[in-house]
Amino acid sequence: MISFLAAVDPAFKALAPRSADWLTILPELAVAGLSLLCLLQAMLLPKSLRPLIPVTARTGLVLVALMSVVTGPWTQAADVESFAGLLRQNLPTDGVRAVFLLSALLTSFLAERFLRERDAAVADYHHVLLVVTAAFMLLAQSNHFVTFFLALETAAVGLYVLVGYLRRSAASLEAGVKYLVAGGLSSALLLMGIVLVYGALGAVPGVTDSLNFTQIGKALAAQSAAGAVSPLTLAGVALILGGVAFKLGAFPFHAWIPDVYQGAPTPTTAFLGTASKAAGAFTLLILASGPFAPLAVKVAPLLAVGAVLTLLAGNLGALATTDVKRTLALSGVSHAGFILAAVTAALVLPGVDAFGYDVEQVVVLYLLAYVGGTFLTAQALVALPALEDHRRPQLALRGLLRRSPLLGAALGFGIGSLAGIPPSVGFIAKLLVLALLVAAKLWWVLGAALIGVAVSIHYYFSILREAVVRPTEDDEEVAPLELPLGTRVLVFVLAAASLVGGLYMLAGR
């Protein structure tokens, strides 16, 4: 293909991938292969062996995670560019790769039993899940708006399917449609922005490819030094950031979150809340501190205001909810606010660090903490039988601790980590973000974050309170809950990690 194109225009020759390039995305290729393997298994395996499919997917994900640990540029300080600058890898992209892999792995644990109980196909779900995961992994490494947009759209299309996966549930379908409309709008904004930037910078001397992040960064640096950034470029940048803010769920692009999260099947909600949010957070970070860094003076106030409003909207909104999934959806908005705040700190004071961690590391740590907390909580939710998955009132949790001490503990650790209670990793992550805000002297954002944490205690503890009070006579379901061994081990490992992980991060600092 490339050789054919090279015959048309020699410029394409530069794009021809070297064999070393393929090695850099081996984990992504492996995850994509794994997704095909799921389909293949569904076709070939006899029905009695079908339960192997999720097991294969999980084993594969663990192996890929190990592989990316071994092959990733962990030890290299410099960035690794591949595919003629389409992709760029460094320590943070490897870290966020781990976030996506972990999130997919945990989603698979949630989904298997959940889908079987609802008589939905397990193999197809895993197939789509893995495609989305691979796309997110590529997205985090993209250094070019073409790979960026393609990866983002691949992931989005997969997520539309996962949100509307329960075809017999009106709520799931409604959520799917809502997500489709909101996602389509965000893609349109993003594409419009990309086109404006492409056009506005295309004619700048020295720029050969005005979609390449590195070249955009250089062009913007030159222009802003000369004070000649065109309004068209600014509009484009604003639109792109708006499109990304949609994925992240930041104010004012958070309106779709409560409905979609509540209606989606709970495993998808957990995946949406962690992997999709991580993708939004991380792309925002690489865009804002990469190609758009020269515009920091203009972008930073925008993000700061966004962070304050996101923190307030998420926390105050969650205060008024009684449905657990909805509460967690809006609390996820407030977590997006925390990430936005960290990104803002990176723009206001480049090179800012907290306890020796730079902003990218803090964001990855925050995301990992958030993944742990979310999945611990989701485990407790999914284990409770619910006729309608989109109705999870707090009352349904009543007596959880008595029915299954392990799940009660899982909820406690999960909510505790989300609420940022020491010594959980969630607390350490919040502490790092707050330290960043102090170092960058972002007082208003700091204030909003602190108010948010104080407010959040109310809704988080309301959830916990139902779980710990003893069931009364008129509660029908008081039978003990049985958990498979795998879930028990998983909950134990996650809880232990959420307890020790944060301390480990601070050890010796």
Binding site: F355, P405, G416, I421, P422, P423, F427, L431, L434, A435, V438, A439, L446, G447, L450, I451, V453, A454, I457, H458, F461, S462, R465, V468, L503, Y504, L506, A507, G508, R509
Partner: protein
């Protein structure tokens, strides 16, 4: 540096936490084993921490004594203010532990484990000299407090626990912001952010705005029940199970004051300017308004809870006057009162629960005449009340007298206000004693006695109360036990704060002195 005391310190802090962890993990451990194990967790610090206080040598040579490297990089280190508070906490923890072991509760091992966590966290706060460690252990102690109140509390526990959680989290967040800003402004690495280093760093840094001082003062003040951030406190102490009330009102709230002194007073100028006047008015309100609220209480435990808030007034005034005059005596007295109040307050909560166990109620109008039936309980209760109102011989006396003396150069109205606390607290405390133990027994009590006669104070309760009152008497007669470690710290704090004090604050110091 001698490593032996350092090992004692590390053991004193980590033992309760480790024992608590094992009890939490072993929910089904046999009762006898769990009891013995938990007793060890409560008793060991109560031996080690007072021993450390006795070992305290000349603090001038080493600002942080008994430094050791703890787990996860949180170094344990004891400063002169922390040493007596650590000892007090360990004794309150021991008494609370004996009480908890004496109780019959559901999920006993978890209950004991969480109380051990509270104790370990509180000991950790006083046993670390590091600001991140301070904040960490402070939250580590608070979370079990919320859970214990929510689960095992008495009447009105759910709203009380929720209110407490929100107030204290808001306060913790404000203080966390203050701490982070102070460390950042001091230019100290987080790994080296001890109280001394931050104070030294802030001396050389440019003056921080008063808002930072306000964050620390009001954030930590919420925990120490400073007016008007106190409204969670009395319901919270009242609703909590007795061992938790003892630890919370006795020991936990003191680390709010500890932080205010070592961070706020020493380096953030919380007593100067407008912030200083707010501080004064709030402290006066703690004394007067909360004192009046105490007068209106008709429930023994509510009364103790409110009086525990009111007693913080003199402590705040001691801290305030130290910052204004730059003389150490106010801080000395405040620190002494912190230690003494912890002991007397815990003893009162313990004994009030003994009253309730016998009479079945905390309501003062349903009590009366208990002295005839439970003379030992009455004797202990009267002694604890006397300690609490500041009778000479008990530790509280030195604290209260010290605060009054430190205020001697202040305007007359302020002295009058503070003197009125003696009257107010004597009125409500003695009235409560009279209504509980003397006079004719109420009808309800007579009926209860007729149905099921109750015995006098049990041995476990005698031991617990005896330890607390004995310790109060000991520091009452040998005040140097506390003062010799506190005085150099107070002197150091005043040096720092004078350096930071602005001109108007210095002018408040009268010319004739």
């Amino acid at each position: 540096m001698d490593t032996f005391p350092a090992t004692l310190l590390a053991l004193a802090v980590t033992t309760p936490i480790l024992v608590g962890l094992i009890l939490l993990a072993g929910r089904d451990l046999p009762r006898g084993f769990a009891s013995g194990f938990a007793f060890g967790g409560f008793a060991l610090p109560a031996v080690l921490a007072p021993w450390l206080l006795v070992l305290w040598s000349d603090p001038a040579t080493a600002p942080q004594q008994f430094q050791s490297v703890g787990f996860w990089g949180f170094g344990f280190a004891l400063n002169g203010l922390g040493a007596p508070l650590l000892a007090m906490t360990s004794l309150v923890g021991f008494a609370a532990g004996v009480k908890a072991l004496d109780q019959e509760v559901e999920g006993r091992n978890t209950y004991l484990g969480l109380i051990l966590f509270m104790l370990g966290g509180t000991l950790g706060v006083f046993g670390t000299n590091h600001l991140v460690g301070f904040y960490f252990f402070h939250e580590f102690a608070l979370i079990p407090t919320f859970v214990l109140t929510l689960f095992w509390g008495g009447e009105g526990r759910r709203p009380a626990a929720m209110q407490m959680a929100i107030y204290l989290t808001a306060g913790a967040m404000a203080s966390l912001a203050g701490i982070l800003i102070a460390v950042d402004a001091a230019g100290v690495e987080y790994g080296a952010a001890t109280f001394e280093n931050v104070a030294l760093g802030l001396q050389n840094a440019k003056h921080l705005p008063a808002a930072v001082g306000a964050l620390v003062l009001f954030g930590l003040g919420t925990l120490a029940s400073l007016f008007p951030f106190h409204s969670w406190a009395a319901p919270g102490y009242s609703a909590a199970p007795t061992p938790v009330s003892m630890l919370h009102a006795g020991a936990l709230k003191k680390f709010g004051l500890y932080g205010i002194i070592l961070l706020g007073l020493s380096s953030l100028d919380i007593t100067g300017g407008a912030l200083g006047s707010w501080f004064l008015w709030f402290a006066v309100a703690n004394v007067l308004l909360v004192g009046l609220i105490c007068l209106a209480q008709r429930d023994l435990k509510q009364l103790l809870s409110w009086s525990s808030v009111a007693h913080m007034g003199p402590v705040f005034l001691g801290i305030w006057v130290c910052g204004v005059t730059g003389q150490a005596d106010g801080l000395d007295a405040a620190a002494f009162l912190m230690v003494a109040h912890g002991l007397s307050c815990a003893a009162l909560f313990l004994l009030a629960n003994a009253v309730r166990a016998r009479a079945g109620t905390y309501r003062l109008d349903e009590l009366g005449g208990l002295a005839a039936r439970t003379p030992v309980l009455a004797a202990f209760f009267v002694a604890a009340t006397m300690a609490s109102v500041g009778l000479p011989g008990f530790g509280n006396f030195w604290g209260e007298v010290g605060v009054f003396l430190a205020l001697r150069a202040q305007p007359l109205w302020l002295q009058a206000v503070v003197a009125s606390t003696v009257v107010i607290s004597a009125v409500y405390a003695l009235r409560a004693v009279a209504a509980t133990f003397f006079g004719p027994a109420s009808e309800a009590l007579e009926k209860r006695w007729a149905v099921a006669p109750f015995g006098d104070l049990g041995w476990a309760e005698r031991a617990a109360a005896g330890v607390l009152l004995g310790a109060s008497l000991t520091i009452g007669f040998v005040p140097s036990l506390v003062t010799r470690s506190v005085n150099p710290v107070a002197a150091g704090v005043t040096t720092y704060s004078q350096h930071n004090a602005k001109a108007p604050a210095k002018a408040a110091q009268p010319a004739q002195r």
